[in-house]
């Protein structure tokens, strides 16, 4: 605006070349917005891809997808009941949560309430390394070490080569850093005054941790657990390698199980031509997975908003 008046005052001498550049500024902003729009486009295309191929799938399979109890898309007489895959997914994720919630929250309380700054500086980056380990490595470890050495030799469990237990256990350690780091952030954000008040009334460190800090940070803690669960549900390689590919309606963790993600990968590997029901089943499973994780993510965000205590 100022540039415009200057140009009017001294015609011909474009101060700082303002006119030309202002046009360029607009173009640049538009280009940047376009780049930012790519991420929105990604979401749109994910939904379009999943829905487009799922529609013919559901037209053919119908409600049997939700009610059937057998998943065998590549047989001559295919069955498309998603229940065994959902059971497998929830079973493996459930085992993972049983490991990750106590270990993750214990680590978070220790780091936030007990550890010296020096310990924290050393331990946190090491936990970050766990985040960086590719999941195929965890899968290999579950198959070649957890199952034969820990479960069979050490604990004498009657597990099969592929089983939900080893996949779930190791998936737990994959999730631990997610739960630990988000919960620790939430606990560290609890104002010092609350702790001091409790100490002043004679509370011990344990009582302060469990009865003051923990409840005050509960929204972040729940969010971390929900995000951890959603990571577990979406994890593919661990279950594909260690849990086997046998859809099962049973709940015995020493047996092989198949998950939604595992079957998507296995079906895709089979190289089904586009248009076949096998190809479409990848998309129907993908849609199921997408909706599941989206709901979990929304619960986490909602929880944080609703129960977050705002401290001055």
């Amino acid at each position: 605006m100022e540039a415009g008046t200057q140009v009017a005052a001294a015609p011909g001498t474009h101060v700082l070349g303002a006119r030309r550049r202002r046009w360029g500024e607009g173009a640049i902003k538009a280009a940047l917005l376009l780049a930012a729009a790519i991420s929105v486009l990604t979401t749109v295309l994910i939904v379009v891809a999943l829905v487009k191929e799922s529609v013919p799938f559901f037209r053919e399979v119908g409600g049997a997808f939700f009610t059937g109890d057998e998943w065998s898309p590549l047989f001559n007489d295919p069955e498309f009941g998603v229940r065994p895959l959902v059971i497998g997914t929830l079973l493996v994720t459930g085992i993972a949560v049983l490991v990750a919630v106590p270990v993750g929250l214990g680590s978070a309380i220790y780091l936030s309430e007990y550890a010296s700054p020096r310990t924290r500086r050393i331990v946190k980056p090491i936990l970050e390394v766990l985040v960086g380990v590719p999941t195929i490595v965890f899968g290999f470890f579950a198959l070649t070490f957890i199952t034969p050495t820990i479960l069979q030799d050490l604990l004498h469990l009657d597990v099969q080569v592929f089983n939900a237990l080893s996949a779930g256990l190791i998936m737990g350690f994959m999730i631990v850093p997610t739960i630990a780091s988000i919960s620790e952030d939430a606990m560290s954000a609890v104002p010092q005054g609350l702790r001091e008040g409790a100490y002043g009334m004679g509370a011990t460190r344990r009582q302060v941790s469990t009865r003051v800090v923990f409840p005050a940070a509960i929204s972040g803690i729940v969010a971390s657990i929900v995000l951890g669960i959603s990571r577990g549900i979406g994890e593919t390689m661990i279950v594909l390698i260690a849990a086997g590919l046998a859809p099962s309606n049973g709940l015995n963790p020493v047996d092989p199980h198949a998950t939604i993600t595992g079957f998507m990968a296995a079906t895709a590997k089979g190289d089904n031509p586009a248009g076949t029901i096998g190809y479409q089943s990848i998309f129907a499973l993908g849609l199921t997975l997408f909706v599941l994780t989206l709901v979990m993510n929304m619960i986490a965000i909602r929880f944080v908003r609703k129960y977050r205590q705002v401290y001055e």
Partner: protein, 302 residues
């Protein structure tokens, strides 16, 4: 416990003493439990690394890095094509995510008015994208890049773009943090000297936030090259016999080769898988080390 009289005599004193000691014991036990939570995670990490080095070190040699995989002879098998494929994927990924990721971060931090609905949509959307399972990105790549509208087939270009879309949110978040760390006074100074907004961003904000952005880019790339599931879905070649020479060759990558060895029932191939994992982990650790070094060396404190 020996006699009721004794207990009654020392009753009052003992209860208070006992409760004092038991409180202290509980405190210690609680702290011990918490510390063991951390120790068990560290133990798993150590055992994991130790096992993989143990299994794989025997198969590791210079030839292993360059040889092609063989189904018959594990001894002469290598990761040559897979490693080349991973390098190509990194190249495609870098060329794609750096301009798009940095532009998005600049837009959201420097230009976007967060009261406008579409800017809020972009922000929420990036949060949600970060939580989408990686295999779903594979489905996206399969539907739009490999088949469907673009129909490029399962080539490295499609694989690199798929991985790029997957890690884009990571880079955007890191880029935004780096840009936000540049103090407003730098921008104000630049603009007071007559620079336009873009000149300020290009000449002041971006150079100042470069170390943070570079760190974010390296971490995104290291996440991308460890991914297996999306590449399986878009149809990566489980068994590449020759090294890819361009982005229009078939997708093959280190994790895919490792996975195909893990799936092989012959035990000799397990050690090849472990050796492949060692190479992958060394690459990842090196990238992380560079990222940390960059951050410590060049990050400015304002």
């Amino acid at each position: 416990m020996s006699s009721a009289a004794e207990a009654a005599a020392a009753g009052a004193v003992r209860t208070s003493f006992k409760s004092g000691r038991s409180t202290r014991i509980w405190e210690l036990a609680f702290k011990g439990c918490l510390a063991s939570c951390i120790l068990v995670s560290l133990l798993v990490l150590v055992v994991l690394l130790e096992q993989i080095v143990n299994d794989g070190i025997g198969s590791l040699s210079l030839g292993f890095l360059t040889d092609t995989p063989s189904r018959i002879d594990p001894a002469s098998s290598g990761i040559g094509p897979a490693l080349t494929g991973t390098l190509w994927l990194m190249l495609v990924c870098t060329v794609f995510i750096i301009p798009v990721g940095v532009a998005t971060a600049v837009y959201l931090e420097e230009y976007a008015d967060s009261d406008r609905w579409f800017n809020r949509v972009i922000e929420v959307n990036i949060q949600n994208l970060a939580a989408v399972p990686s295999i779903v990105y594979g489905v996206l790549g399969l539907a739009f890049l490999v088949r469907g509208p673009l129909s490029m087939g399962h080539v490295l270009l499609a694989g690199g773009l798929t991985l790029g879309l997957l890690v884009l949110p990571v880079l955007i978040v890191a880029g935004r943090e780096a840009i936000r760390a540049v103090p407003p006074s730098i921008r104000e100074g630049s603009m007071a000297l007559g620079a336009t907004r873009w000149q300020t961003v290009w000449k002041q904000v971006l150079p100042a936030s470069l170390p943070g952005i570079a760190t974010g880019a390296i971490l995104s790339l290291s996440r991308a090259i460890g991914e297996t599931a999306p590449l399986i879905v878009i149809g990566a070649a489980a068994f590449a016999t020759s090294s890819p020479t361009g982005i229009f060759d078939d997708v093959t990558a280190l994790p895919i080769q490792i996975f195909s060895w893990i799936s092989d029932p012959q035990p000799e191939f397990k050690s090849l898988a472990a050796a492949g994992i060692i190479v992958l982990m060394v690459i990842l650790l090196a990238m992380n080390a560079v990222a940390i070094w960059l951050r410590n060396r060049y990050e400015r404190k304002w």
